[in-house]
């Protein structure tokens, strides 16, 4: 299967990419990992006239910590996040999420930012970045701006990115204290989009109570969602069984799943509850060990 014919551009700088985006607008698409876009183009349900391949832009590669944040460049592949042992301690959700995405060769190609910009509601990174309270750094003709993840997803396959803006990085806040995270996902088969998914990120305060909590919901609405009620109920509490039970019951309240081939809306809501409970129990145990060891 072949995509429609297109003009291929391979800029080597962000400015050049933005200039091309500005020039071709609606008719163009950015190609990063291409693991979602190219299949759609082969089916010809996506047929951009111009493809702007950003893989040759060195500025989009790699990550660094700065100003209390981890800045992850747009060309960071899922597999990079999966294997980066140096990030596991402070950003455990990254590798825990990455290993659930599709399969190894796809993870070698697909990028974190590309996945966010594609804005598939079933995307694993969507839920994870919600939990991490990330910002997406985008650059346009007028310079760059940070879009908080809660404002980034607008609708299925739609983000608040302007037509001539390029997502250049995603910023993840550096946690302030011991952190643990879980990514829970049920699939119909390995590598499938989630039936439902939940990303849970917890930072423990010195008082033994949760100081920061992030819970992102995947595949249960038109966009990745935040379990805001559950987060609020978690912050300031010790991770007791009682807290966990209360919090996990609140998670489904912020979900908006639909009935489909993967299961009913009720089922998906209940999965979120089960995921939350299991994730928090595991996190509690892990943090207890960690704090105890310190």
């Amino acid at each position: 299967m072949f995509p429609n014919a297109f003009q291929y551009e391979a800029p080597t700088s962000v400015d050049e990419a933005i200039r091309l985006l500005t020039e071709y607008g609606y008719d163009s698409k950015i190609l990063a990992g291409g693991q979602s876009l190219l299949p759609m183009m082969k089916f010809r349900i996506a047929a951009p006239a111009v493809l702007i391949d950003v893989n040759g832009i060195d500025d989009l590669k790699g990550w660094r910590e700065e100003n209390g944040k981890l800045r992850i460049g747009a060309l960071t592949r899922h597999a990079d996040a999966e294997h980066a042992t140096e990030l596991r301690d402070r950003y455990p959700l990254l590798s825990r999420t990455a290993r659930w995405i599709a399969d190894p060769p796809i993870r070698n190609r697909g990028t974190i930012c590309g996945s966010l910009v594609h804005a598939d509601p079933g995307s694993d990174w969507g839920a994870a970045m919600i939990a991490l309270r990330a910002d997406v750094e985008v650059q346009g003709l007028e310079g760059s701006r940070l879009i908080p993840i809660d404002e980034f997803f607008v609708d299925t396959f739609a983000t608040s990115l302007e037509e001539n803006e390029l997502a250049v990085a995603v910023h993840v806040p550096t946690p302030n204290g011991p952190v643990a995270a879980r990514y829970m996902k049920l699939e119909r088969k390995a590598g499938d989009f989630a039936i439902a998914a939940l990303a849970v990120h917890v930072v423990m305060g010195k008082d033994g109570r949760v100081s920061e909590a992030g819970i992102g919901i995947g595949a249960c609405g038109p966009i990745p969602l935040r379990a805001a009620k559950a987060e609020a109920a978690l912050v300031g509490q010790p991770l007791t069984e009682e807290t966990i039970s209360t919090v996990s019951k609140l998670v489904p309240e912020d979900a908006d799943p639909a009935d489909d081939l993967r299961g009913s809306a009720d089922y998906k809501r209940d999965l979120l509850r089960v995921f939350a409970k299991r994730a928090l129990l595991e996190i509690a145990e892990e943090l207890q060990e960690r704090v105890g060891a310190e």
């Binding site: 391949d53 060769p105 590598g191």
Partner: protein
Amino acid sequence: MNIRVTVNGRPYEADVEPRTLLAYFLREQLKLTGTHIGCDTTSCGACTVLLDGKLVKSCTVLAVQADGREVLTVEGLEKNGQLHPLQSAFWEEHALQCGYCTPGMLMASYALLQENPAPTEEEIREALSGNICRCTGYVNIVKAVQLAARKMSGETQETLEVAATHGTSTD
């Protein structure tokens, strides 16, 4: 567009349409038909090759994206008339039936053993999860990768024979 690609150590220069997928480029322009195509949705992995040492599905990479880079396909595994240990292990363990998934499976196994020379069954199953086999039920593929891992870690033929006879693993 004109591209230069090194495939299995050999440089090629070719003119391709930007929309040409790497899999078709390899098969139809370079006549390296060992790389197969089995699906439209990047699901099956029959087209799996290594691009600059990284495992990719060549049906979801443009040929122009391989410009200036190195590709390794199944045809590049055999060296100087010697089968790669993975190839002979797949043969010995009956890890293939119709053979259509085999090139992709070999490439995925090759990539795995580069990073993890002694994988467990679970690690092998996870590493090959982007490659569908409809015939073998995977049991013998797992065995073959483990056998190849032992071969590549330098065990002698004799040790392997003993291990096979006694049904034990020597690692």
